[in-house]
């Protein structure tokens, strides 16, 4: 049986063979298997050097200083460390947090937990295209706001938020630190920690052809940037209360032996992403438009999210007259895509992101997210259009739509 066409690169990507090879070099006796914290011998030194090379590679890809990179197990841990870490450290300054309804669960759930513990959380509603107006952020800031957490690229609809403008709003406020979940950004659109004016930024390796199980939190050291003349220079380095203890690694923010092979993989994956030619993004964008034209020709197809402000790799569409679970069931043997439903049990729930955009439950459930990637070909796109077209047509016939 043929494998389904893989169009779920926004969920995860295959590890680049060059990355896998570099990781393998860090595992066995013949390679650099040492504990990077073991400064007492050459094995540790060699592993430590690889870790620092990877740190520099990640930093170079996202406009950060190497010293600002704190390794984590992934973007979820990075988000948790940023949100709980800031909330806890600055709890005497304030207990108000601003975020958006369309954030990833890895941001929304920590915020909800803080709410349970007594913090106040403002969740901004996007417009119907999925965009958060920076003015909304400015208006939401209160005297005791200690954190703003807004994602750069939305994982479901691919919409890019105006992070520099949001960063400026936070800077003018003075107290609010800006955390940006950029798990979906690297390799898809420009990311510049310094230019963004962010204090914290979460990164993931496996969205960019690196391994699962590793990510990073960028923690600003406060060496600020001549930005917009709003006083960045005076800003103190952001501080965090660590979530785990035992060894003091990663500036004390994240204790535990650094997994050399994992961070080496992430470092190389980010370097490869940084060096990818612009033509690749153009190729992906052209494929996405080919996909959209094909799906739009079915009729009753709605595009979710601002097409002009989204990364080229993501297309999210809803199909009128089609039940969501049946749509996914009808395509899944031939197509690997994500649905707009959160399958938390046998009963599916409509996507809260699409609901926040104003889609009704039925359209939110009948959506598909297509995630294009390096391996995606024109043939894959044409197959996807044919498979979805056949499914939509059949289900509409069954439903009498």
């Amino acid at each position: 049986m043929l494998k389904p066409v893989y169009l779920d690169h926004a969920a995860t990507t295959p590890v680049d063979p060059r990355v896998a090879a570099a990781m393998a070099q860090c595992l066995t006796m013949e390679g650099e298997f040492g504990n990077p914290a073991s400064a007492s011998h050459a094995y540790g030194d060699a592993a430590g050097a690889l870790v620092e090379t990877a740190r520099a590679q990640v930093a170079a890809c996202v406009g950060a200083a190497p010293a600002e990179v704190v390794w984590t197990s992934g973007a979820t841990e990075a988000n948790n460390l940023a949100i709980f870490g800031v909330a806890q450290y600055y709890r005497e300054q304030g207990r108000h947090i601003v975020t958006a309804r369309t954030e990833h669960k890895a941001v929304l759930d920590p915020c909800r937990e803080l709410e349970r513990r007594g913090w106040r959380v403002t969740r901004l509603a996007p417009d119907s295209a999925g965009v958060i107006d920076p003015g909304q952020v400015a208006e939401a800031l209160q005297a005791d706001t200690v954190l703003v957490s807004i994602m750069h690229v939305n994982n479901e609809i691919g919409v890019i938020q105006d992070i520099p403008a949001i960063g400026a709003a936070c800077a003018q406020h003075g107290l609010a630190r800006l955390h940006v979940d950029a798990a979906q950004s690297v390799g898809k659109t420009a990311v510049d920690f310094a230019q963004f004016g962010a204090d914290l930024m979460s990164l993931s390796a496996h969205k960019v052809y690196g391994p699962k199980g590793v990510g990073a939190l960028l923690v600003s050291r406060g060496v600020r940037r001549e930005q917009r003349g709003v006083g960045w220079e005076q800003r103190a380095p952001v501080q965090l209360t660590a979530l785990q203890f035992g060894g003091g690694q990663e500036r004390g923010f994240r204790a535990g032996t650094v997994a050399t092979h994992q961070v080496v993989g992430m470092g190389l994956a980010f370097e490869l992403a940084r060096k990818a030619p612009p033509s690749e993004a153009e190729r992906i964008a052209a494929l996405r438009e080919r996909l959209w034209r094909g799906l739009a020709s079915l009729g009753g197809t709605l595009r979710n999210g601002d097409a002009q402000r989204s990364v080229p790799h993501v297309l999210n569409t809803s199909f009128e007259g089609v039940e969501g679970e049946s749509l996914l069931a009808a395509v899944r043997d031939r197509l690997a895509v994500s649905t707009g439903s959160a399958c938390t049990s046998a009963l599916q729930e409509p996507s809260y992101v699409l609901r926040a955009l104003g889609r009704d439950d039925i359209l939110s459930e009948s959506s598909l997210r297509f995630g294009l990637g390096r391996s995606t070909s024109e043939n894959d796109i044409d197959t996807a259009v044919a498979v979805v077209g056949e499914a939509v047509s059949r289900l509409r016939k069954i439903s009498g739509a």
Partner: protein, 121 residues
């Protein structure tokens, strides 16, 4: 979501899809598209015998499969409007998860509406 082979078969083939027309056709529907599940049966009945049945469904694969099976096996005596097989049998036959069993009641309601219409002609 995992589906049984029988569920997938009836979902994918969906026999007896469509509508019937004519003076001897009786229609019943239940559910609501806006709430995610809607089912309609058309029954061709004469002399209290169902000669043909068709269905339409806006629903999940389990519900489509069960509705298709009911329509396919509908031929025969009208038997006071009872759903062929019954809800419990459909639930077991198509391995319907507990959370979804309420949707089988929508199938039953649609069937009863069509059958009642035929019985009251």
């Amino acid at each position: 979501m995992k589906y049984s082979e029988l569920t997938l078969h009836y979902f994918q083939t969906a026999p007896a899809t469509g509508v019937l027309t004519g003076p001897d056709v009786y229609r019943g529907a239940a559910g609501n598209r806006a709430q995610g599940t809607w089912v309609q049966f058309d029954l061709r009945v004469s002399g209290n015998i169902i000669h043909a049945a068709r269905f339409l469904a806006f629903a999940c694969p389990h519900t489509i499969a069960a509705t298709a099976w009911v329509a396919e096996h509908a031929g025969g005596p009208l038997s006071r409007g009872a759903l062929p097989g019954g809800v419990q049998d459909l639930s077991e036959r198509f391995a319907v998860p507990p959370e979804k069993r309420g949707r089988l009641l929508i199938i039953e309601d649609a069937w009863v509406a069509a059958a009642t219409s035929a019985l009251q002609r």
